[in-house]
Structures are given as structure tokens and as C-alpha cells.
Amino acid sequence: MTSDAMSESPPGPRPDPAKAPDEAGWTAAVRNRVEQTLPLTELLPTKQPAYIGSWVYSFGVICIAALVWVVVSGVVLAFFGSAWWHISAVGHFFNSVHFWSVQMFFIFLVLHLWGQYWGAGWRDGRATTWMVGVVIFLVSVVTAFTGYLIQQNFDSQWIAINAKDGINSTGLGGLFNVLNFGQQYGLHVMLFPIAVTLLVVLHIIQVRSRGVVRPIDDPMPASDSAGALR
């Protein structure tokens, strides 16, 4: 091989000379996209619109707080196991924290849903934010259902036996077997919590990238066109 052959440029598209060398490639494209759609000033704002000074706008963040407690207490329960949460006093406490934080999560999830439904929270380019919220709700219901199935008590057995016929009637009984404790436990402590958490992170990013939706009776200024990223 001659030195001329070694100095030839590699095959493929030539880099754009207008761009700096470190601005080429998918990493720079992703970075630029993130900087445009979600600058840090939008992700961690110091000022908020005046109209969010209402308790109705607190329901979503209360859901997040409840979810944190759900995950923390769930991690503790996973470490010590069902014998511990049924027998020991501390286990009972963490079991109760897990249960009641889930109740709080769903109560404020529904209140958040009411607030966004009657406030038409999908307006001005926020339809996907609403859709992701709906998916979070549905995945959360299935996650809670698997939680009821793995309590390891008569309640969970009663639910599983009755649910077996119901799930079988949908045709999913072979794949999603409510009588299979190992399967339901794995889904409840791994797959579904990860799904809920990632969807909530996506939901928050969507809310922060477009800002909190204006009240219906608060007209949008002409400079802020519908669907535009702020």
C-alpha cells in the first residue's frame, strides 16, 4: 500500500465544511435539539405564569410526591420479602406506607385528570402530553392490580381467582397469568414501575417544554402562537 492510498479520504458523504468538526454527528444533533426544545431555563424555571397560583395546579406534583413514596417503600418491601411485611411491626409499617401512598397517588391522579379535563389541558400543542397522561393512568391501574395480586394473603388469592376468569375471557390469560405469583411479582417490582417512572419523566419533560396550559378564560397573546415552543 502506497502512502498516496493511505492519505485518501474514507468513503461516504463528505462532512459539511460550513459546520465545525465538533458540530457534526448525531450527538451534536441530539444536543442541539434538546437545547432548542428544552433549555434548562424551561426545565428549572424561577418564574411561573400568574395563573398557576391555584391549588388545582398542585395535584400533578402531589402525584409525583406520592410516587416517590411508593417507589421508596416498594424498594424496602422488595428487600425484605413477604414474610417480613406480614409478620414484623416495621414490615407492617412499610406495607402500609406503600399501600396508602398508592391510594394518595390515585386520588390525586384522578383530581389532576379532572383539572386537566375541565381545563382542556390538551390545548395549544399539548395533545401528546394529555395522551401520555392517559397512558400513565392505564399503566398505573395495571401496576396496582399486580400489587394486589402479590400481597400474599387471602385478599390476593380471592382477587387472583376471580380475575383469572376475567383475564381469560379477554384471551390474554395464557400470557398474563394472574395465578402465576412469580410472573406477577416480576411485573410489579420491575417492568411496570420502570414503565410508570419513565412515562412520568416524559410527561414532566413535555409539560416543561411547553409550559403550563393557560386557563380557558385567559386569552393567549398574539405573539405566542398556538403550538409554538416557548
Binding site: P45, A50, G53, W55, S58, G115, P221
Partner: protein, 51 residues
């Protein structure tokens, strides 16, 4: 508490008393949230947007 909850039945509607009470509390909480003053909320003069 170690017994089935009382159920209320009107026509096709069948609901346990605890669930009905919870729904009532949630509706009440939502109404309160609409009208209760929000603490620590300062309006910046002439500033109604987050820009």
C-alpha cells in the same frame, strides 16, 4: 372493620359506602382547590407570563 362494607343500591348503581364517601371527599377537595387562596403567591407587576 373485619366485615364486608355496606353497599348502597339504586337501580343499576351499586357502590360500597367507603367508595361513595371517598368520591364525595374527592369532589369536595376539587371544589375547595378551585376557590381556596394559594399561599405565598406573589404577582409580579405587569407580569402574567413566565418569560
Amino acid at each position: 372493620m373485619n366485615e364486608p362494607a355496606p353497599y348502597l343500591h339504586w337501580g343499576f348503581i351499586l357502590i360500597s359506602l367507603p367508595n361513595l364517601v371517598l368520591i364525595g371527599v374527592m369532589v369536595l377537595l376539587f371544589i375547595v382547590a378551585l376557590f381556596a387562596p394559594f399561599p405565598g403567591h406573589k404577582r409580579i407587576s405587569g407580569h402574567t407570563d413566565d418569560e
